[in-house]
Amino acid sequence: MWARWWQSDGFWLFRRSPAAILAALVAVLILGGALLAPWLAPSNPYDLRTFDLMDGLLPPLWQGGDARFLLGTDDQGRDMVSAILYGARLSLLIGFSAMAIASVLGVSLGVAAGYWGGRFDAVVMRIADVQLALPAILTALLIDGIARGLLPRELHDDLRIPVLILAIALSLWVNFARTARASTFVERRKDYVEAAIIMGQHPLRIMARHILPNILGPLLVIMTVDLAAAILLEATLSFLGIGLPADSPSLGTLIRIGMQFLLSGEWWILWIPTLFLVALVVSINLIGDFLREVFNPRLR
């Protein structure tokens, strides 16, 4: 199994692409840091008792800060390393969940639309058209706004993360649906699908077992690119003050907090989370670009 993987086309390309290797390395490092945040982080940024106002606004270690705080502290005395690790954890949690929901929703609708065609296809694609006309960020803002109006205030504060995930997922499903539908359209007319139909297999089984595995390649590319888009969207919403509040900061919230120090010289509060976010998104996008090359030999 390992040998087969080692000798595969994709891995051969991977070994020859320094950009892809570097991107994968950065992504894995950040992902690992985020997953292990409770064990790696020196303190818990959600626990107000653990930080001391006396430690506020300390610069990073190499600028003469305190040995306890490698990347310095913010105005509350919160350790930046911990805040960033926990922030990345939240950003990735929201990004992955939104992407997962969007892909399941989009792919099932897309495959079904491509397989059955007809009226169902027309309805799904019209909805997709309308939504495609509205950029993702507008859709997400709107859904969040509706949730604010529908839910009582306390409930909305408790449900912030699920609402955010849903808002992002519902603004990203269209990409999956369109790609899945187009690929299914092609597969639907191939002999193996015809054979499965003649053998009397259930349509749902044909879609899931026969068609889906054959259209996974391009979908994987979209999953990567949309993961980056979801993380960016969450950061943007949090930056706008619509997403997560300051007491459970994601990377976007950290950047919004850091904005207040743009004029006063405490550069680390703003630029370190920003750099972290950009590195994460750039590396995910690079991986997406690489996957596109692997699955589309014409681009090589």
């Binding site: 993702a136 507008l138 509706i146 980056a228 930056f239 004029l263 950009v278």
Partner: protein, 324 residues
């Protein structure tokens, strides 16, 4: 031809109806309008009388028809938060957003198209590789980070440009413009750049892909075989055919510019529609949200309609297909 235009018009009306319906449903079902308009001291009987006066007890479709009719004549109702007519609020904000968006779009096209053509003609050059890598980074950097960076560099470190507001403006009737003063332009530069950079990378990538596609076609190969000078080949034959899809790009980008102006306006405190929308979400000001949605959709539909008609005017092949 006439049939095609009619079909597009009917489609546009249908989309507008769908959006208006969404806005109406938002207004009618998210929160109770009466409880928003009255205070705690209003009696139940008074509330019921108000409900009857405002026609909130009428059948749903009647209410929707009335709502659409009022939208059509520009009667957008009142904001829950400021109690001002929404029409006036929007009208005072629209020029700021349109000017910002137009300048951003111009930046995107004036830089993006030449860069796209260059990278397509020299796919293996060092400059091309550098441009391609920087666009990938450009796509990955969120708009607000670009804005913060520009503020930091030109506003804080160098102190060359203002970092918020519109600067000096000139009033033409209801249109307050910042395009006619030096101060206004200085205030406009950073937000427009912020908004333009992301669109620029998109324009460049699309033009590049389209140009490379055209360069592979038979008629270009034939023109090469005929011995046409490279200059004529590239800039007359190839570029001419590349420009057709670019019109669609402009249409699509207008949507992106409007959407991302929400972010840009927030970073630079630019007093446009996006900032108004953001405030309306923060304060759950449902009527403003709904009207913003309808107005934006109207812009989108209008632009798409114009793009389709331009297509028809520019590309003779489409006309033949319609006639056949």
């Amino acid at each position: 031809m006439a049939y095609f235009i009619l079909k597009r018009l009917i489609q546009s009306v249908f989309v507008m109806l769908a959006v208006a319906f969404l806005a109406f449903a938002l207004f009618r079902f998210v929160g109770d309008p009466i409880s928003q308009m009255t205070g705690v001291e209003t009696t139940i009987a008074d509330q019921e009388r108000l409900r009857e006066e405002l026609g909130l007890n009428d059948p749903f479709l009647v209410q929707f028809a009335r709502f659409s009719g009022k939208m059509l004549v520009g009667d957008f109702g009142f904001s829950y938060r400021t109690r001002q007519p929404i029409g006036e609020m929007l009208l005072s904000r629209i020029p700021a957003t349109l000017e910002l968006g137009t300048v951003a779009l111009l930046i995107s096209l004036l830089v993006g198209i030449p860069a796209g053509v260059y990278t397509a003609l020299r796919p293996r050059g060092a400059v091309t590789q550098a441009i391609l890598i920087s666009t990938l980074v450009g796509v990955s950097i969120p708009t607000f980070v670009i804005g913060i960076f520009l503020i930091f560099l030109f506003g804080v470190q160098l102190g060359w440009l203002p970092t918020f507001g519109r600067g000096g403006t000139v009033q033409f009737g209801w249109w307050r413009s910042s395009l006619f003063t030096v101060d206004g332009w200085r205030a406009l530069v950073l937000p427009a750049l912020t908004l333009g950079v992301y669109q620029l990378t998109l324009t460049m990538r699309l033009v590049r892909a389209e140009m490379m596609e055209v360069m592979r076609t038979d008629f270009i190969r034939f023109a090469t075989a005929r011995g046409l000078p490279m200059r004529a080949l590239h800039y007359r034959h190839a570029l001419g055919n590349t420009m057709i899809p670019v019109i669609t790009i402009i249409g699509l980008q207008f949507g992106g510019v409007i959407a991302f102006s929400i972010v840009t306006e927030s970073v630079f405190q630019w007093p446009g529609m996006g900032l108004l929308f953001l405030e309306s979400i923060r304060f759950v000001d449902i009527p403003v949200m709904g009207v913003y949605l309808v107005v934006i959709a109207f812009f989108f539909v209008l632009i798409n309609l114009v793009v389709d008609l331009l297509y028809l005017a520019i590309d003779p092949r489409l006309r033949v297909k319609e006639a056949a």
